[in-house]
């Protein structure tokens, strides 16, 4: 992509007040649809598969219920009361309502007060990290003590489309608060966006459309690379200065390839690379990879996270793990606990769960 808008006066974000992750929580629904089951229906079982299996929301689950689960886990690890929250923001591309916020339902369900910011974010697969940057700004400016940012999806894939193999359900919630009491400090973030139409869903459309290979080089790779290279350059770090890294994971190959090209090793991305086992959770994809890393990271370790949302943009974060994580991460189920909780379903059950069967 020809970059004519790379303004040098727009450096990385560092809030006035240091901020961090006070609590975090993952949620993955229990149902799994193996990719080979999709191939059985649509390609006679032939062709290579982008993942092993994906997580599927049950009949009584949606972005709101799953966000509530993840938010409750985040509150447990934060060891704060929901009344201390100043914002409840839900990033998703599968909000149950086109008009009516998920944020207010989640806020009320978890016991957040009425005098808060609540609302929804949409930026394809980076709505969750966009909410996270906003929460950093809210807390970092002193407007509020804690902000809850959630990335959660029950992603749609048209039956028979390449996306059906990977479009999955799940995500994670993050409570952003003062760095002093945080489990991990967010040292800096940097965002990079452009008008790149690689993937979209028009109003009233059931399924997204995409530009096939255009979603690769000029979209996913260009934006993740630009955001990550810039935050590294501005912060003076190199790939080897990080213990762990997580990139948006729409399939298994893309994050592996972009990590390699940016100088990260397979070992650095291994704990956060969940896509083979849960699929692409869209707005939750990078965030749930981060939650799996925080489940195992040691105090003093440094983590890089770069999300990607079609349309298009990337948010990159430098995160440093702090001492309290050793105690507080055990307050809730780990990401791997959720992944291990598994009930396999067949394609017929999947289409029923996802409401693909039209009954007049």
């Amino acid at each position: 992509m020809t970059d004519t808008h790379n303004h040098d006066h727009n450096p990385i974000h560092k809030p006035l007040k240091p901020v961090g992750i006070t609590g975090y929580g993952a949620y993955v629904p229990r149902y799994r649809l193996p990719a080979k089951e999709v191939a059985r229906i649509w390609s006679g079982g032939e062709g290579s598969l982008p993942i092993i299996e994906k997580a599927v929301a049950g009949l009584d689950e949606d972005v709101v219920t799953m966000s509530i689960e993840a938010a409750r886990n985040a509150l447990k690890r934060a060891e704060i009361d929901a009344s201390q929250l100043r914002a409840v923001w839900v990033g998703s591309e599968s909000h149950p309502y086109a008009v009516k916020p998920s944020g207010t339902i989640v806020a009320e369900a978890i016991g957040a007060p009425r005098s808060i910011q609540a609302g929804d974010w949409e930026f394809a697969c980076k709505a969750g990290t966009e909410a996270m940057v906003a929460a950093m700004a809210l807390v970092g400016s002193g407007m509020g003590e804690y902000g809850l940012a959630i990335g959660m999806d029950t992603a749609q894939g048209k039956p028979g489309d390449a996306l059906e193999y990977t479009a999955a359900s799940g995500g994670a919630a993050y409570i952003i608060g003062p760095a002093e009491t945080a489990l991990a400090e967010i040292v800096a973030s940097y965002s990079y966006v452009s008008d790149t139409p690689d993937f979209w869903r028009r109003a009233h459309a059931f399924y997204p459309e995409h530009g096939q290979r255009f979603t690769g080089e000029p979209a996913y790779f260009a934006h993740i690379t630009a955001a990550t290279e810039r935050i590294l350059a501005e912060s003076g770090y190199q790939a080897k200065d990080f213990n762990w890294a997580v990139f948006h994971q729409p399939n298994t190959k893309f994050p592996q390839r972009v990590a390699k090209s940016l100088g990260f090793t397979p070992e650095q991305i291994a704990p956060g690379l969940l896509v083979p086992h849960i699929g692409n959770t869209y707005s939750g994809s990078a965030l749930i990879g981060l939650s799996a890393i925080l489940d195992i990271a040691q105090p003093g370790e440094r983590v890089l996270m770069t999300s990607y949302g079609s349309g298009a943009g990337s948010d990159s974060f430098i995160i440093e793990v702090r001492e309290p994580i050793l105690q507080r991460r055990h307050n809730a189920l780990s990401t791997q606990d959720y992944i291990a909780r598994r009930t396999e379903i067949d394609y017929a059950t999947y289409v029923r769960f996802r409401g693909e069967i039209v009954i007049e």
Binding site: M1, H210, G211, Q212, F214, E217, P218
Partner: protein
């Protein structure tokens, strides 16, 4: 000889081929044309023939003559128009450009082949490419050129019992030759093993049997012998003979669908007009849209008897040091298949060979080359014979 009334290619230019996300028709056309004018030491075209198949459908842009003329600053100076003959647009545009010079209506003419395919999704693109077939009786029922080529190859395999693996040589030669072509879409060799393991696209055609569609542009500057500056003599390549021929449009109307009669007619006439014969050819840039096209093109020009051309793929005949090298810079298969521009790419590559500037792929002492572009399954063929002139 003085060649004063003959037509010469004196300038060439091209863009890379591939999925060129940042470049549209105007950008591609500008790059290729300006490079060609520079190569022709600044000769300014008085006419511009733009070869293109899908501008009006894939880019919603017709009127490419005006578009490109405007883009390169020739508005008001050159008469410009689009030539459309499906995948053979490039070969046909070259003939029309040469005719304009022979008719005396222009002294310097540019031919620009430009195609843009990557901006739309493949299902739309497939439907647009199928426009080269008979809309009422073929594409309407879901056929496209590849599915027809697959049916023809099935029949060919049935009639000429031979091992399917024998066809590996066609894409292997193309890929091997593309390695040294800096503009090619796929610059890597492939193995027979990879060919034999490749997934089927349209059985029996596999992934490596079908040329990949590519964005790309290429331009030629043509002039008459009497207008040729002496400084351009060393790089001038003579367009010795050209011919366009047609077959029945729909495959089901052909009495012998396994013989590309349009390809046969057009190559015979082009050679005849050049005063040359098949034996004189040092190389043949064929239209390897699929492996089936490669097979039937070789039989159409008489390089192999009916049902025997598969043998050429493995006996070394078609390699750069063989008796009739093909796809010398990668062909449609590995250079990339830029549809309506492909015929112009072939002429550019032949020019490189005849100039002695084909680098690692140079055919020693190349003096005569033939290029042939085909529309659909050879419902139309445009053939040109190019020679290296011997000046007095």
């Amino acid at each position: 000889m003085s060649f004063s009334d003959d037509v010469f290619i004196v300038g060439i230019g091209q863009t890379p081929l591939g999925e060129l996300w940042d470049l549209g028709l105007r950008d591609l056309g500008l790059q290729a044309l300006l490079t060609a004018v520079e190569d022709a030491q600044g000769l300014v075209p008085q006419a511009l023939y733009v070869a293109n198949m899908l501008g009006a459908s894939a880019s919603r842009q017709a009127n490419l003559g005006a578009l490109i003329c405007d883009q390169v600053g020739l508005a008001g100076q050159a008469e410009a128009l689009t030539v459309e003959a499906a995948e053979a647009s490039g070969g046909v545009a070259l003939q029309l450009a040469a005719n304009a010079i022979r008719a005396g209506s222009a002294d310097v003419v540019a031919v620009l082949g430009v195609e843009k395919v990557a901006d739309i999704v493949s299902s739309e693109l497939d439907a647009f490419v199928a426009q080269s077939l008979d809309a009422d009786f073929e594409s309407e029922i879901g056929m496209n050129a590849n599915s027809q080529a697959a049916l023809l190859l099935q029949r060919y395999l049935h009639e000429n019992a031979f091992p399917r693996e024998a066809l590996a040589g066609f894409p292997m030669i193309a890929h091997a030759n593309a390695v040294a072509n800096p503009h090619a879409m796929f610059r890597r060799a492939i193995s027979a093993e990879a060919y034999n393991k490749a997934a089927l696209v349209e059985p029996p055609l596999n992934f490596y049997d079908v040329a990949p569609l590519a964005d790309g542009a290429t331009a030629l500057i043509l002039t008459r012998g009497s207008c040729l500056p002496s400084t351009l003599r060393a790089q001038a390549v003579r367009l010795a003979g050209s011919a366009v021929a047609n077959s029945r449009l729909a495959l089901h109307d052909r009495l012998d669908p396994l013989f590309f009669d349009a390809a046969a007619l057009s190559s015979q006439r082009a050679l005849e007009r050049a005063g040359l014969s098949l034996e004189d050819l040092d190389f043949f840039e064929y239209s390897d849209i699929t492996t089936l096209h490669a097979l039937l093109s070789l039989e159409a020009i008489g390089a192999a008897p009916r049902g025997q051309s598969w043998k050429l793929a493995s006996d070394g005949s078609l390699a750069l040091d063989g008796s009739l090298p093909v796809a010398t810079m990668g062909g449609n298969k590995a250079r990339g298949f830029a549809l309506g521009a492909s015929g112009v790419f072939q002429a550019l590559e032949a020019t490189l060979q005849l100039r002695g500037k084909a680098g690692a792929n140079q055919i020693p002492n190349a003096r005569v080359g033939m290029v042939q572009s085909l529309a659909g399954n050879a419902s139309l063929a445009a053939t040109h014979v190019l020679t290296k002139p011997v000046w007095n």
